[in-house]
């Protein structure tokens, strides 16, 4: 089975802090994604990556950046955390070839105080 692992289940940070959310997948998938999940809004795509060192903006990239130095690892960075970034963050991966079946991690619940 595909495993997508997010390093933290819960995080509490202060406004203005730099925050790193880490995600690792073990199935050699080319595609990786970061979503945030908020009540009533569903899942919204922040950034995605087709390959190492490649990244594409999703629907809500403002206030975020990403890093993909290795195929298995995709990091989400909040340069200066704000309270409106309090959310559940979900990482996902998928193989290439147009199959949109995403495999998700368990999520990181981030609270920015």
């Amino acid at each position: 089975d595909v495993k997508v692992t997010q390093s933290s289940r819960y995080l509490v940070k202060r406004t203005g802090e730099k925050v790193f959310l880490e995600c690792v997948q073990d199935m050699d998938h080319e595609n990786m994604f970061w979503y945030r999940q908020d009540p009533g809004l569903g899942l919204r795509l922040i950034y995605f990556s087709y390959d190492v060192k490649m990244k594409e903006k999703g629907d809500i990239p403002e206030g975020y950046s990403v890093s993909r130095e290795k195929k298995e690892r995709f990091s989400l960075i909040l340069e200066s955390a704000s309270t409106n970034q309090t959310s559940m963050y979900l990482c996902a991966s998928s193989p290439p070839g147009g199959d949109e079946k995403l495999f998700f991690g368990s999520g990181t619940q981030l609270s920015v105080l």
């Binding site: 809004l41 569903g42 087709y50 979900l90 147009g98 949109e100 079946k101 995403l102 999520g107």
Partner: protein
Amino acid sequence: GESVGLHLPTLSVQEGDNSIINCAYSNSASDYFIWYKQESGKGPQFIIDIRSNMDKRQGQRVTVLLNKTVKHLSLQIAATQPGDSAVYFCAERFSGATNKLIFGTGTLLAVQP
């Protein structure tokens, strides 16, 4: 942009009954649809998918129906079990927009013993 919506935010059913979760989509150019299940404290898990050239697809205890005329998608769960209690999301992909899914806001399925 266009979004996927759900008719019912919550659905309560008796154990053993069949469940039907509905989803309306607004983009007639969408060519691929997925249903995900998200249990409490976990990331979304793939249930079943369907391409726009099909009307129906069956899995184990689940069936997805696609009505392109009225832009409606439904997930049917046969003999609902307590383990089916979760939030269910539909997602659509706009034709040609590889690797970009638009998620609905979710329906909570509560199975009563």
